[in-house]
Symmetry: C2
Subunit: 729 residues, 2 copies
């Protein structure tokens, strides 16, 4: 297959979209696919993971680092830009097998043609390092200057975040320090240039503004010769240590462009040795799937032990760089099955933010842990009470995502349970995992409420995954997941008692586990779990069936403004059965073994025509469930929708004046889940892989690898036949 | 005092308002204060009590009868209209002591001047009868025609309600029958004319359109002589009997204009003999108060035993002619203290509609009786789920008045308890009153809900009297009233056991009272009743204090459209502490004896600046409570606001294209409550009147009468001194 995506012309309209499609990164940072000479006007960003700032009453969002890749070509005194009329050819591509972005542009001047070729990578191994190779060739003897700078005038959605940006240089090393507003946080960016034409060049340091530092290399470039500049760049922040500049300088002493590139390429080969997916008979799916996995990998935290992946990954500041349930529900499986240490890091992020979840629970009158809907550092919930703007009045609309989406904590429990069952890594449990699960279970217990006329406890006033219907009672997904969390806590405690009595006793003393389990035991069988009706349909929430039964198309036709919000108190969908995304279907996927296939199908058939699929999380669940009731061809279009989300790009980039574009790692993770658990039907029973393949009709062969405990398995599926080999251990 | 309101010129702009201010009526019908020659363009209406129709998906609303008062004067071939340019003088007045509307208009023609004088009354004794005297004088010998017709082209807000209107005549009798769309309901209207100039006139019956029947009297009228036409009109509907025309004809045989007028005037004297209020030192208050009482009396049902008073009385079809809690909470006291048989009728309406209330409860998953928020025939809830229109999108807004204003049933209980305690009329109790109270108590029991972390039962997801805040938990008013209803049921059962053991046993067998009381007894002490905080303030609902603390003026300044709704999911007040009307203050008024005066005052001082007073029900409760903590001068402006509501008129007449004007009987009733229970501080202790006067500083003497059991008391209050005499028994 072709591991490249490319563009053969420049289109300023596509700048925002291409920034995401050509993104490189390494879990520490994401570098948008913009060109060397571009600035914030073209949405250049080096988006940093897990370090946030708030300016005034704006949204708290992650920092973008000063850009050490900014480089301007000057030939015979003229700046050459991609937007010039005299560009005669332009191509750019992303080699997503190797994580290398490349561009090649030729300008026609009166003296002849000048070609610029550059490539860059963000080391997948050395998370702080970015490499840039910048090459210029001319058809005439030219006075060439390369302005190799650091651009501190960064693009922000809710900035500016830096109070000041300072610059310094020493020989070929350019240094920038950016100081965050009213905070002790800093970002240090270093750029060390190496130029081949050592004897010919003239070097000058210039500081054209308070936000820019430049090393200007001026060269007499003979015709048809190539001038190569390579830059090794480092980014550190105060999250990495008290004095990021000092750490960066020490690091730079050992940095070398060629060496770093080798290590980087080897890093990617290691990843693909397990992750690569082969789909014979459907190249589109194959390419899209591997490209999606590339995007998951450039967002995966490998450099630290408690970081997660934001909903738009590291493609920018969209959605505040916050972590949603997307990670646990959609991305986790891929990492768990291929790089379990990354899965562990994602979970440790939640364990580390248990304090924030406890505080949130308390602030709403609950016990236990109520995780942030939009989680930032320390579990701070970045979600606003007003997440949507009324397009008619420009006033914020009170939304309840933050306070009523109680199901968020259950995603954390599900992740821990999956991790524990898949890896048998007891350490994670005893180091906070069990406590987290118990706290989430106590949270759900504290949300139970018993109407005097009812026998069972109910859960009222929530929002389920379908956010269009707010403040509903007994959302099936929420109730089942609440039950699941309480059940999981009791199950884990039993398991721990069994396999490590001493550890149990130690934790019991610390955490009063026995006492808490008593509380949980009292309610475990007393929770109302909505059952299928005579038509086998489970009602999404109390009263859902009484709502107007219509279709997304009809609801859409009622819009009076293309951007108006469909949900909330007054949206076009609110009083109808039209839902934003899989809700009951998500519940059934989670508990598919507890329902008959005919029930799974009946609900799929009922809810699908009523689903807008207004979230990139929706398609995956429909694809999963269709596989569960053995109809892969029903699943296929939904799988493809998820799998091609990144490849297709496009989609909504702007909400009014706010940039909301970015990558969709949950869709990518969901697609992989579909592939492995859906179409291949893989699960482990007693540590043995069991497959029940259900391939789409057009697929001849499906090959993939996964890691399970100490083994790496290579699977091959043809029709209903599945084979595997253990390739090493 | 002057018992007249008058207008000395014609103003077409004031037509809608004057229709209410000059309204006459008798509880069977309300006749808007429009002129003889006017039609639906001027909002002429003979609004009928308790008979409704719905056309298509429009609002179900009461019928307006064909108008038998329509009369057109023709002189020398020219129609004389109030809108003519040659009107030289015009005056109209309402004698509200006698319930007589009068107009006098003079036209100047080329031949000389013509004067028309007419007066009309709706018999306060004979509910079906309307009398009209129509007199014409001319300064020249004139050819005068009087077109004395019935206008079937009635004004409707959501009509037309009549499929056809038929006309017939026989001598001086004009007959019209109006047939309601798709229903068996009919309205029969008769007009019997009597003309003095028997020998001179020429009579012709004409039917100019399918909706009009006219008897045309043509007369040669000598100069300075007066031509008198008197008409006796009758209105009957199928609510009065299967064949309303037949009943009307029989009635007409005994009808006589002069006799009917006498009876009518005597009827009013009887009413005023108890109702008249004297306020020495404040004529404005005195006139406004008596005028308000006039309005209450013309809406009071005396002709049947199960009818109530709509929120806009009989002034038209506004608010669907539906009965709200206004009747029980604001109007009942006046009737109870002066005409207890009317109070009984109002209550019997609720007892009769218990079936509808039971159905409503069931449809929302409750037990017992959940009364209609906007009650029509049979307790049908006319309230829409979409009661408000979004001014920006013209889309209906989902409101929760109907389904979440649980407090409505408690108003019914309060009325029954007040009636029972005031009159000791056991019959009402045993004939449905007790059952109603028990059913309401069971309704509130069924709404109880216990969060697992709480000790007490709570009530969630309601709207209190302040409708701007929807779907709140533990609204103080609702919780206290729920407790009150359960307590009242238990109290009444105990009382019945005490005074009529046999009746109790009989009812117990019929209604399983003992069993129901057991259920009620289990919860009576287990209901969460929000208590005052350290500053003695009771929080209106859970979380109210956390809302933005601002003022109505500031909230108003945020409006982007003058008519946008302040409440609901997205209103300017919804997320603030600004409330529509008295809420906690209403609760405290209901339970003022259970709280210290300093608590009453602290809450008044807290909530008043946060209250928009966007309902005519608000001022009365603020006035009441201020009297309870002995600050009548704080009460006075709120009393005056209520008392002068009808006198002042004006106010909002139109919401977009929908007419919403009308009279405000709740404000009138509230003002009387203020006067008697607030300023005079009257209550009965062991059947003896006890007064704790708190007159406004400018009031010298307050005199009023009330009826209590077999006595009529006349009270006189001067400063803190109160005396009374029993004037008959």
């Amino acid at each position: 297959m072709d591991w490249k995506i490319s563009s053969t012309h420049y289109d300023s309209e596509a700048t925002a979209d291409n920034g995401n499609r050509f993104l490189i990164g390494n879990g520490y940072m994401g570098i948008r696919g913009t060109l060397d000479e571009c600035t914030k006007e073209q949405l250049v960003a080096i988006n940093l993971a897990g370090i946030y700032d708030q300016v005034g009453t704006g949204w708290r969002e992650p920092l973008n680092a000063p850009n050490p890749l900014w480089t301007q070509l000057v030939v015979n005194g003229k700046n050459l830009d991609i937007t010039d009329e005299n560009v005669v050819s332009h191509e750019m591509d992303l080699d997503f097998r190797n994580g290398v972005f490349h561009r090649k542009t030729t300008w026609k001047l009166s003296e002849g043609q000048v070609t610029l070729e550059s490539k860059r990578f963000a080391s997948i191994v050395d998370a702080h390092l970015i490499g840039l190779r910048y090459s210029v060739t001319s058809t005439f003897d030219a006075d060439v200057s390369i302005l190799a700078g650091i651009d501190g005038d960064v693009w922000d959605i809710n900035g500016p975040h830096y109070e000041k940006v300072t610059f310094d240089h020493s020989g070929h090393l350019l240094i920038s320090e950016a100081f965050v507003q009213n905070k002790s946080d800093q970002v240090a960016v270093l750029r060390l240039n190496h130029i081949d034409h050592n004897e010919l060049f003239d070097l000058e340091a210039i500081y054209p503004s308070a936000l820019q530092g430049i090393l200007k290399y001026s060269v007499k470039l003979p015709m048809e010769q190539t001038l190569d500049l390579s830059s090794t760049c480092l980014v550190y922040t105060t999250k990495d240590g008290q004095n990021p500049l000092k750490i960066a300088k020490a690091h730079m002493k050992n940095a070398n462009y060629e060496e770093a590139l080798k290590v980087h390429l080897k890093g990617w080969e290691d990843i693909w040795s397990i992750s690569e997916v082969e789909i014979v008979g459907d190249e589109e799916a194959e390419v899209a799937m591997n490209y999606s996995l590339y995007h998951l990998n450039i967002a995966a935290p490998r450099h630290c032990k408690n970081l997660s992946i934001p909903a738009r990954a590291l493609s920018g500041q969209t959605y505040k760089g916050a972590v949603f349930w997307d990670t646990e529900m959609f991305m986790l499986d891929y990492f768990l099955y291929t790089q379990p240490e990354v899965a562990k890091t994602l979970i440790e992020y939640r364990i580390d933010t248990l304090g924030g979840a406890r505080e949130k629970a308390k602030s709403y009158g609950f016990e236990g842990a109520f995780y942030a809907w939009e989680s930032q550092e320390g579990g701070f919930d970045a979600c606003s009470d007003y997440n949507v703007t009324d397009v008619f009045t420009q006033r914020p609309i009170r939304t309840y995502f933050k306070d009523k989406q109680l199901h968020i904590s259950s995603a954390v429990v599900k992740a821990i349970m999956q991790y524990f069952k898949y890896t048998s890594d007891n350490e994670l449990l005893t180091e906070g995992g069990l406590e987290t699960v118990i706290e989430c279970a106590l949270f759900y217990r504290s949300a139970l409420i018993k109407p005097i006329l009812k026998e069972k406890y109910e859960i009222h006033d929530v929002i389920g995954p379908d956010e269009y219907h707010e403040r509903v009672n007994n959302n099936a997904y929420t109730n089942y997941m609440a039950w699941y969390c309480i059940h999981s806590a009791l199950e884990l405690v039993s398991a721990l008692k069994e396999y490590d009595r001493d550890k149990f006793l130690e934790l019991d003393q610390q955490l009063a586990i026995t006492q808490k389990c008593e509380l949980l035991n009292e309610v475990i069988n007393e929770i109302h779990l909505p059952k299928p009706n005579e038509e086998k349909i489970i009602e999404q929430f109390d009263g859902y069936f009484k709502l107007e039964d219509t279709t997304p198309a009809i609801v859409k036709s009622r819009l009076k403004h293309p951007k108006e919000y469909w949900g909330g108190g007054n949206g076009v969908a609110s009083d109808t059965q039209v839902i934003k995304q899989a809700d009951v279907v998500t519940m059934l996927e989670c508990f598919h073994e507890d329902f008959s296939k005919s029930t799974l199908k009946a609900n799929w058939m009922y809810y699908e025509p009523r689903t807008e699929h207004g979230s990139s999380l929706s398609a995956c669940m429909y694809a999963m469930l269709a596989c569960r009731f053995d109809e892969p061809d029903k699943a296929y279009p939904f799988f493809m929708k998820s799998a091609t989300t990144e490849m297709r790009g496009g989609g909504k980039q702007w909400a009014g004046l706010v940039y909301i574009g970015g990558t969709h790692p949950a869709a990518s993770g969901g697609a992989w889940k579909n592939l492995i658990q859906g179409f291949a039907g893989l699960k482990f029973v007693n540590d043995e892989p069991v497959l029940t393949p259900n391939l789409p009709t057009n697929w001849k062969t499906l090959r993939f690898q996964i890691k399970h405990k100490s083994n790496i398995y290579a699977f091959k599926i043809e029709g209903k036949k599945a084979t595997y080999t253990i390739i090493n251990s």
